[in-house]
């Protein structure tokens, strides 16, 4: 009996502590700053716009106003945070973006997947901010480029259509397999309509298309389904975006 009471008391105390700690974490999240904010907004599938500033001058206020207006227009998708570059509370995000070495004020947009989708300093327009909100697959392309990879984008008429054989061979090839990332985008996916519009390809496509992007944001070309692997490879080799043995030899290394 005593053991039971002791166990019950233990459970009650443990539960109470758990509740208290839970409440504490809720409170922390409500005041989440910096890196926590990114994770929190990413969890909500939201873009985060950081306005880094040193002086609260007219430039900063104008930039903040543009960002707030943008966030208001995209309330479901975006959140913003104003960060003083010497704020100790925000040191994690300041260090992450090396904000003290940025021309200020600056705005940096971060997609839910962690890709940086915009950086502007001193002034920013509504059109530029609007451009920084990407479709999920487009954000994946940007993240791949920011990781130093060649983005091989397969535009597919439908989810169950296979990518072009050239794209598949490219991804398996010795020269490019560890330097490229494959992103498949379906024309039937309503979220990706904006992607198709941006890469200037109609969603009414009948055959898969392949687009190659090289870091930091070079468009190497859009290729039809009948394009061969050699054409894709040659495009990358000739662009100077690759450092395979063949390119090194051509460059006299």
């Amino acid at each position: 009996m005593n053991n039971f009471i002791a166990r019950r008391e233990f459970l009650i105390w443990t539960g109470a502590l758990a509740l208290l700690s839970g409440a504490g974490s809720v409170g922390f999240a409500a005041e989440a700053t910096g890196a926590d904010g990114v994770e929190q907004n990413a969890g909500n599938d939201q873009y985060t716009y950081y306005v880094f500033y040193r002086n609260d001058d007219s430039l900063t206020r104008r930039m903040q106003s543009a960002v707030e207006s943008h966030v208001k227009d995209h309330a479901e998708q975006a959140a913003s945070q104003k960060v003083h570059v010497y704020s100790k509370d925000d040191s994690a995000i300041i260090d992450k973006f090396d904000a003290r070495r940025l021309p200020l004020p600056s705005v940096i947009g971060v997609a839910p997947n962690g890709a940086v989708t915009c950086i502007y300093h001193r002034k920013v327009s509504a059109a530029q901010l609007k451009r920084s909100i990407l479709s999920p697959r487009y954000a994946d392309v940007v993240l791949a480029l920011q990781n130093g990879k060649i983005a091989v984008v397969s535009l597919l008429p439908d989810d169950d259509v296979e990518p072009s054989s050239a794209a598949s061979s490219f991804l398996k090839s010795e020269d490019f397999s560890d330097r490229s990332e494959h992103i498949q985008v379906s024309a039937k996916d309503p979220e990706e309509r904006d992607f198709f519009a941006r890469v200037k390809v109609s969603t009414d496509l009948e055959q898969p298309k392949t687009i190659l992007f090289a870091p930091p944001g070079r468009h190497l070309g859009t290729f039809d389904d009948d394009t061969t692997f050699d054409v894709l490879a040659e495009k990358v080799h000739s662009s100077g975006s690759c450092n395979c043995e063949k390119c090194q030899k051509n460059q006299g290394r």
Partner: protein, 416 residues
């Protein structure tokens, strides 16, 4: 007795006036050879710099003074490091690489060294990649952001893995791909001075650094430096995110003018200069040195010539009796003229040779203080110096020789 022995005995009997004349000629030749050799070596150095750095620009604080490209960061003025990010984000056409630097004078094992903060490429690549969306947009819309200079393949090709790991190439390229916060690169001379080699641990300002590489000799002031990550040097200096200079490497010389204008507009509080502007200053200084050396040579040659003429006139007057005796014994006036001219030419040739030796020593001793490169003697100056010394000595001895030839033996003996 031959003419040669007569001349030799004459010089030995009256050495002081001969040596005085000889010295005047020697000084002129020495000045020409030393200054011309230094100017020639300096020109060669400038040409080498132009070849290596032709498309490079320097972004400096407005108040910074600049004498030497390789020592552009050796001043106390600073620029905010955000200027580097501003240039990256502008995606200016033709910018291939950037090398911001901050210098800190410190000691390692009680030896004075210049610790130079450098920023690796990875820092630029990351910030540049934050513009991916805009770059992709601009590429699709075929506008100019991030475009390459037209018809220019650029200087640096895509980096290979070996390039990325190669730290020693810094001595040549002045850019390093990646550098850990507490790793250092040590210049060839500094490594010798500090007696350090790769993998050694070195303490700088209370922090422990690992020697990541000892750089090969480059023949520049970089050989005497120690390089660390810019942000580490900033932390050690306590100066915050600042730099002394930003070196911008252009893809080719054609792009330089446009780039200067673009950077000046982008960074109105900084001074943007091209290597050619710096070189022009050095070239005009060399030209001035060269002209001054010829002027000095001409003046000293005139002084030397006058001195030779004076010595020879006095010599002819003092030796009237001996010359008269020679004439009485059947010597022709031409022989007496040859005697005088031979002595003069001997002064010219020996003076020239002494001047050449003195000038060479002067150039090798003082040269490295003026231009920090190995010196080569100017063959042109040597040729001009020796020939001019001989011609001046002969020319200025013409009238004394003529006077000797016109001596009348009967008048000479009247003095006896």
């Amino acid at each position: 007795m031959t003419i040669r022995s007569l001349v030799w005995k004459e010089i030995l009997q009256r050495p002081a006036p001969t040596v005085a004349a000889l010295l005047a000629v020697a000084l002129g030749v020495a000045a020409l050879v030393s200054v011309q050799s230094i100017a020639t070596s300096s020109e060669a150095q400038v040409a080498r710099q132009m070849n290596e750095l032709g498309a490079n620009l320097l972004v400096l604080p407005k108040s910074a003074d600049l004498q030497d490209y390789y020592a552009a960061d050796l001043h106390n003025e600073t620029l905010p490091e955000e200027y580097v990010t501003t240039i990256i984000l502008a995606q200016a056409v033709g910018v291939e690489e950037m090398a911001p630097k901050l210098c800190l004078q410190t000691t390692i094992d009680e030896k004075d060294v210049t610790l130079t903060g450098i920023l690796p490429r990875t820092e630029f690549f990351e910030k540049s990649s934050w513009q991916s969306v805009d770059l992709m947009f601009q590429e699709m819309e075929e506008t100019q952001l991030g475009s390459k200079h037209e018809n220019c393949t650029g200087r640096t090709c895509q980096l290979t893995d070996a390039d990325m790991q190669d730290l020693k190439s810094y001595a040549k390229t002045r850019v390093v791909h990646d550098l850990a916060p507490f790793s250092i690169l040590v210049g060839a001379d500094a490594a010798r001075e500090l007696n350090v080699s790769e993998e050694d641990e070195v303490e700088i300002m209370g922090e422990s650094f690992k020697v990541a590489a000892v750089l090969p000799a480059s023949g520049t002031v970089d050989d005497q430096r120690v390089f660390a990550h810019l942000h580490t040097v900033q932390d050690l200096s306590g100066m915050g995110p600042v730099v002394n200079v930003i070196e911008v490497m252009g893809c080719c010389e054609d792009v330089t003018d446009g780039l200067v204008a673009e950077l000046e507009e982008l960074l109105p509080d900084a001074r943007v200069i091209t290597i050619s502007q710096l070189v022009e200053a050095q070239v005009s200084m060399n030209r001035l040195m060269s002209r001054l050396s010829y002027l000095l040579f001409a003046i000293l040659m005139l002084v030397g010539g006058a001195s030779i003429a004076s010595v020879m006139f006095a010599n002819v007057s003092e030796r009237r009796r001996e010359l008269g005796t020679l004439l009485a014994l059947g010597a022709t006036p031409a022989l007496l003229q040859r005697l005088v001219l031979m002595k003069a030419s001997l002064i010219g040739v020996v003076g020239g040779a002494v001047g050449l030796l003195f000038g060479a020593v002067l150039a090798f001793v003082c040269g490295p203080m003026v231009v920090d490169v190995p010196l080569d003697l100017s063959l042109q100056a040597i040729g001009w110096g020796l020939i001019s010394a001989l011609i001046v000595a002969m020319l200025f001895s013409y009238f004394p020789a003529r006077k000797a030839g016109h001596l009348d033996p009967s008048v000479c003996f009247q003095d006896v």
